[in-house]
Every structure is written in C-alpha cells, then in structure tokens.
C-alpha cells in the first residue's frame, strides 16, 4: 500500500533524526564492505541478518536461504567487478521509513544492513503519493535512466511489461531461487500467489513488497456495547456482530449511522480512483464461487443483473456514509476513523497498525478496533465473501539499469521472508505483510495486532485480484467514471454498466484481444474458491 509517510513511535524520533543525518552524509561514509561483524552477533550457522535485539535470529539467514544466496551472489558480482557502486530505488515517500528506520531498538536499518553486507549504496528516491506510475512512465518514455528499480502498483505490472521499460526476471529467478512459494514461509496460495503478485503472462516481472488485501475493520466499543446490542437485536431480530453478508452489513451500517453525533455507518471509500474497489467486493460475490468480470472469451460480464444490483447497492450505501463520501480519499477516511467517526470501514491492512496504536496520541480509537472478514452473499453452497487486492507495491527492475542482476538480488533479499518479516514489522511505513512467515512472526503480530493478523490472512484467501491485464488503468478508469456517474445520480445502475461495457470493448480492441484473453485467463487462475458456511 502506498500512501503513508512513515511514522515512528516517539522513542524512534531521535533515531530518526540520526538516520536522516546519516543518510545526508552517507556517500563518504560508505561502509567498508570487508568490515567483519563479530561472529557472536549472529546465531550459529548464520551468515547475515540483523543483530542487536531480542529475536534477531529469526531474521538471520544461512548460506542456503534466498537472502543468503542473494548476498553471496552480490559479493561474487562485486568480486568480478560487475556490481554497481549504488542502486537507485524509486519508492513511495511513505514506504521509505521501513527501509531507513532502525527497528526495533538496537537493530540497524534495513538499508544499513544491506550496505554493510554488500558495500553497495542503496539510494532511495522518494516519489509522492499517487505519482508512482507517472514517474515511472516519465522515466521509461524519456529514457531518463533515473532508476534501477521502480516500485509501482501491482496491477500496472502488465502495462509496464508491455512498455519494455522493465525486464523479465525469469533467468535471475532460476539462478538464485527466491523460493517465493515455500509452503512454510512463502506467499499465501503458493505458486498461484506468486503468479498473481509477481508474474505477467507467465513471466516474472516484479517482486512483491506489499500486501494490500483490503480488510474490514469495526469499532469493538460499539459492537460490544450491551445497549447497542439490545437495541439492534430488538430492531433486526438477530445479534449485533460483525456482518457476514452484505445485507447485514447494510443494516448494521444504517443502525450506527448517526451523523448528528459525528458517527457514520461505514466509510469504505466512494471516491474517484479508489471507490470502485468496494464495488468490486459487492460484484464478485454475486455468484458462487465468483462472479467474474470477463468470460473466458473476453466478453465483459458486468452489464448483467449482477452488475446492476452491485451498482445499485453501491450507490444506495451512500446513505450511511459521510455526506462528503465522494470527495474523501484514504487520508480523510483514516483521519475520520482515528477520530472515532465511523462504525466500520474497509481499508489497507495497516489501518490497525496506525490507528490502534498507543504511540498515535491523535487516535481516539486505540484499543477499540476490531477486524472482520469481508461481507459476502449466500449461495446454495455457502457464503461467497470476497475482497480485493488493490495497489500493492511491486518492485521491478528497469531495463535502463546497467546492473539488472544486482538490482534483482537486492529485491530477492528485500522480498524474502526473513528480511521482509523484519521490515514489515517496522511500523514506519506501508509495506504490509503478505507472506506466511509474516503472519506468523511475533514482531509483525505485535505491530499489526493479533486480532487483525488472522483476519488478514483469511482475507487473503478470499481476495480477488483487480484487473491487472494490459490496459488495466483504462479499464478501471472507464468503470470508475461510470460508477461515479451512478453515485452522483447522473446515470442509473443499468446505464452505468452498459456504458462501462461499451468502453471496455473499445479498450479491449486497442489493447489487442488475444493478449487480453491470455491475461484474463491467467488472472482468473488466482481467484479464490473458498466458500464460508452460511450463517445459522
């Protein structure tokens, strides 16, 4: 997820200032590669990894691990004179902290560790919110050559691969074996997960550095309040609990919607560019196991009963949202939720890490946040509850990089489960957990909270990918535009879907239907099939 400048707990602040100072003068200081660390710092058999804090051995690695192989390979490149002085990584402003801030106390920063172990300077270029792809396209189309690595939203991978601006990583993957599908530590859903996050049309183009599976949160103080429970049960005839179905969700949201008291029912986004992820959730659960966006032959399926109903619900749900819903982006959503302004919301999985956080003194909901699975719909064989993968930073190697292999090795090191667990546990940025090892890691669980971690993991299993084929942006824009017209009353649900379908056809022609059908089928393979038992 992309949009949060790093935060640091109060006690990190002085460390932060020091780091900044260090970064500023780091060029002359570039760490002597040969400097040996006391062997006793590392656990036995380990060749590298962070030290200096309790539990550090969990993030250390031996020679036969993805991290260990990456470091050894970099050293070999260096010995052969094929390694660069520095690697330039373009990254959203808000994620940088997780690489540059030491965490926990006593630890080095990820950047320091990399530089210490390899002697290659990691030069991070901050990119402002929402401009990641703009900057990348700028670099690609002008041959700017400003970066070795781009970090972009996951579903731009297809578009970016088609530009030729990023390189295929298959050879490096084969040579250095990142073991992303390791059944114990790797991606959720194994090979399929890897294919979803890192591949485009069967070729690896990216290394996922994020887990933006949209997850639902609610306010436990409201849901556990006996008065509320009673009032709700009296009114609706069933117990007040986190909703399992969209019908329940809408009823609960309406129940808690008290704008005069500064409380909105549910503030899942409705704005341009983001809101449609919440339309997705309502749409894809329309059929069991999934209501797809496209048929296998590339025909759009949205202009249908399912599409109309999802759109209608999506529009109707404005009634329990802020009056400003349509103009609210995630900053307003997070600000409002932290201020105690909503009963439920759907957000990036980091919401509890930021808002249910004693260090965040501005938050009024610390200790009052709960998580629940996405609402779904009852079908014959149970409830189909679905959420979406949206944004999700994925790092790619620029085809203008002079040292693609070293750049890849950095990504293998960064994106493998030991280093990544350590990094994602660091609360100063928005790389979110997505690997099995992350969900199990005590430090990550502490940052993200136990109650949340399990829900995230189960949400991952119910996650539908958003469109990631070439033309992804154009497809989403067309959908977005028409949904927005429906939200503002400019169109009814059926018109909105009919228009979207027409525009999608045009985009499909532009993109090339063959390419599209192949990508649609690859995308489909990653759709979940899990069904939940119907509520009693």
């Amino acid at each position: 997820m992309t949009h949060h400048p790093r935060f640091s707990r109060r006690r990190f602040l002085s460390a932060a200032a020091q780091t900044t100072a260090l970064v500023a003068v780091s060029s002359p200081l570039v760490l002597r590669p040969g400097r040996a660390r006391a062997a006793s710092d590392l656990a036995q058999g380990m060749i590298g990894g962070p030290t200096g804090f309790p539990g550090a051995e969990r993030y250390q690695y031996g020679p036969d691990t993805p991290e260990g192989r990456a470091i050894e390979a970099v050293k070999a490149l260096k010995a052969a004179g094929k390694a660069p002085e520095r690697i330039v990584l373009g990254l959203s402003d808000g994620s940088i902290g997780q690489i540059t801030q030491p965490f926990p106390e006593g630890a080095p920063s990820v950047k320091d560790l990399w530089e210490q172990e390899t002697g290659i300077t990691l030069d991070i270029v901050g990119v402002p919110n929402g401009q990641e792809f703009t900057k990348v396209m700028q670099d690609v189309s002008t041959n700017g050559g400003g970066f070795d690595i781009y970090a972009v939203e996951w579903n731009r991978l297809g578009d970016l691969a088609e530009t030729g601006g990023i390189i295929a990583l298959d050879d490096f993957v084969a040579a250095h074996r990142p073991e992303w599908d390791d059944p114990e530590r790797g991606y959720v859903n194994g090979k399929q997960g890897v294919s979803l996050l890192n591949e485009y049309r069967g070729t690896v183009y990216g290394v996922s550095l994020d887990g933006d599976f949209q997850t639902w949160n609610h306010r436990t103080d409201l849901f556990n309040d006996p008065n509320e429970q009673k009032a709700f049960a009296d009114k609706h005839g069933y117990e007040l609990a986190p909703p399992k179905t969209w019908k329940q969700h809408d009823e609960i949201a309406a129940f808690f919607h008290r704008p005069d008291q500064g409380l909105f029912g549910s503030t899942d986004l409705r704005n341009q560019g983001w809101g449609y992820t919440n339309w997705y959730q309502r749409y894809v659960s329309m059929d069991a196991p999934n209501q797809f966006l496209f048929a296998d032959d590339g025909t759009a399926l949205i202009n249908s009963e399912a599409g109309w109903q999802a759109t209608q619900e999506y529009v109707d749900s404005l009634s329990h949202h802020s009056p400003d819903a349509i103009s609210w982006g995630w900053p307003e959503q997070y600000g409002n939720f932290g201020n105690g302004g909503a009963a439920m919301t759907c957000a990036f999985s980091n919401l509890p890490k930021f808002l249910d956080n004693p260090a965040n003194e501005g938050s009024k909901v610390t200790g009052k946040v709960g998580s629940h699975l996405p609402p779904g719909r009852e079908h014959d064989d149970g409830i189909s509850a679905r959420t979406v993968l949206w944004l999700n930073l994925t790092a790619c190697v620029s085809s203008q990089s002079d040292h693609p292999e070293a750049a890849y090795l950095l990504l293998q090191w960064l994106g493998s489960s030991r280093i990544y667990s350590w990094m994602t546990a660091n609360p100063s940025g928005y790389f979110d957990p997505f690997q099995l090892a992350n969900f199990a890691d005590p430090l990550v669980r502490e940052t993200y909270h136990d109650y949340h971690m399990d829900v995230v993991r189960e949400s991952v299993e119910r996650t539908v990918p958003t469109i990631n084929y070439p033309g992804a942006t154009a497809f989403h824009n067309a959908l977005d535009e028409n949904l927005m017209a429906a939200l503002t009353g400019g169109m009814d649900a059926e018109q909105a879907m009919a228009n979207t379908e027409r525009q999608w056809k045009r985009i499909a022609r532009r993109v090339g239907e063959d390419k599209l059908i192949e990508a649609i089928q690859a995308n489909k393979a990653a759709w979940p099939t899990v069904m939940d038992p119907a509520s009693s």
């Binding site: 400048p5 935060f7 932060a16 940088i96 402002p128 041959n143 997070y334 409002n336 965040n360």
Partner: protein, 286 residues
C-alpha cells in the same frame, strides 16, 4: 477635494465586506498552520476558527524536527523544495523579463517581430499539459529533467508572453519625446534604451516581474512532470505531506503554504513603492 460622508461610509463598508469574504481562506490557512494535530480534523460542532492550543510544531515538522504532537517524521524536509522553487521561479522570471521586455521594446519602437504578439498569445493560451509529452522528451534529451535550470527555462518561456504583453502596453503608452530628445543629443538607440527608457520603466518592470514571479512560483503541473527528486518544488512536495496516522497533514500543508506566501509578499512589499509608481505610470502622458 470634496468627498461626501456617505461615499466614505459606502467605500469602507464595501471594502470591508469584500475583505471579510476574501480573507476567510487565508485566515483558515494561517490558523491551521498553528493548530496542533488534534484540531486539524475537527468538523461540525468541533470546528474551531482559531487554534485552541497554538503551536509551532507544524513548522518544525516540515523542517524535519518532530513536534511533540506529531508522530510522523518526514523523509524529505521542506528545505530543498523551497530552494528549488526559489531558484526556478527567480531565474524563470529573469528569463521571461529579459526576453519579454526587449521584445516588447523592439516591437513597440521598431516594429520588429510583428509575429510575436500572436505567437506569444498562442504560447500562453495553449494548455501546457497538451505539450508536456514532447517537452518531457526534449528536456530528457537535453538533460534538463529534474534540474532547477531546466525548470527555470520552461518557466521563462511560458511566462514570457506575460512580461511581453505587460511591458508592451507600457512602452506603447510611453511618450517618445523623451527618447527623441536624447536621440537628438546624439545618443545611440541602445544607450537610449538602456539609460533612459529602462530606468523610466522601473516601476512597470517591477510590477511585471512580480506577476511573472507569482505565476512561476505557483506552478504545479510543469514541475510535477519535469522534476523527480532533487528539484521538486513546493507545490509538488505538498503531496508528500499526508500520513496514515492522521490523514492529510493539513497543519503541515498550511504551514508550508504560509511559508510559500512569504517570497511573493516580500517582493510585493519591496517593490510597493515601485508598484505605486507603476500604477500611476500612464499619467506621464499628460
């Protein structure tokens, strides 16, 4: 001079009404700049017009120091973007003023460059967004992407029409008798331009420069597309001021906004005298 009381009352009433409305956003920005984080998001009944616990944290924050109430720390502070904005806007203004003023004089006095009025109007009216693709490619080819001088160059070009047109009206209005007298005394045209015309134009130059500077200083779109890291300007940098802990960092944005208003205000004050003389300039005609 005669002025009736009722007119005076009307005048003040009208001016103050206008100011009351027009200052709302400014006051909001100033107040926000001094609000602690807890007061940023206030709305509805909680809304406050003045900071209840005024603080300088927002200013400290954007320069990299974490205030007591801000739990986010910045990766990039505002210092560099302020420098970038200053350099690009100042040199852009210089380019625009030199090229625009001399062209205006050339046209006004000697009828040279008859194509310029139209060409420059077209240049100015044309939405920069529509040519940014080729400009990006050109700038990358010339190595001007993400440099302050690359930004200054494009700023100078896109605001040149402004200085040209403003200066041209002033030159057109300027009596030629003074120049002619100097010519008769044997000065060359160049000397007349440099030693007589330009000094007389000082007020006009100052006010045009202020406008041009403000336009350059304000730009968001061009800098968004032509900078990446080292020379990101204030408006582009503004987007970095948001956080998942608090949402938009409105206080920090307002604080930076307030700082960003300082150079134009200082320029305005510095040339106020010139501005006033610039305003009365045309009266020379009589």
């Amino acid at each position: 001079m005669q002025r009736s009381l009722s007119f005076e009352i009307f005048r003040y009433a009208a001016i103050f009404t206008f100011l009351a409305l027009s200052l709302i956003p400014t006051i909001w920005m100033i107040s926000m700049a001094f609000k602690p984080i807890a007061e940023w998001q206030a709305s509805g009944a909680d809304l406050t017009w003045w900071p209840e616990n005024p603080t300088l944290d927002n200013f400290r924050f954007i320069f990299g120091e974490s205030g007591s109430d801000l739990i986010v720390a910045l990766e990039r502070t505002a210092g560099r973007p302020i420098l970038a904005s200053l350099l690009a806007a100042t040199f852009g203004t210089l380019i625009a003023m030199v090229a625009g003023t001399s062209a205006a004089y050339g046209l006004s006095r000697f009828g040279a460059g008859g194509n310029l009025p139209l060409a420059l109007i077209q240049l100015r009216i044309f939405p920069p967004m529509a040519v940014m693709i080729p400009v990006m490619i050109m700038w990358a080819f010339l190595g001007l992407i993400d440099t302050w001088y690359g930004l200054a160059l494009i700023y100078g070009i896109v605001t040149m029409p402004f200085s040209f047109w403003l200066m041209k009206t002033f030159f057109d209005d300027m009596p030629r008798e003074i120049e002619d007298a100097a010519l008769v005394e044997g000065c060359s045209r160049w000397r007349v331009f440099l030693k007589i015309t330009l000094p007389m134009m000082r007020p006009a130059l100052a006010s045009s420069a202020l406008f041009v500077f403000i336009l350059n200083w304000s730009d968001y779109l061009i800098a968004l597309l032509l900078t990446t890291r080292d020379w990101v300007t204030i408006p582009v940098y503004m987007a970095s001021l948001s956080s998942s802990m608090t949402g938009q960092l409105y206080g920090a944005k307002a604080a930076l906004g307030l700082i960003a208003a300082v150079p134009p205000v200082i320029m305005g004050i510095a040339i106020q005298k010139q501005l006033v003389r610039g305003l009365t300039f045309g009266a020379l005609k009589e």
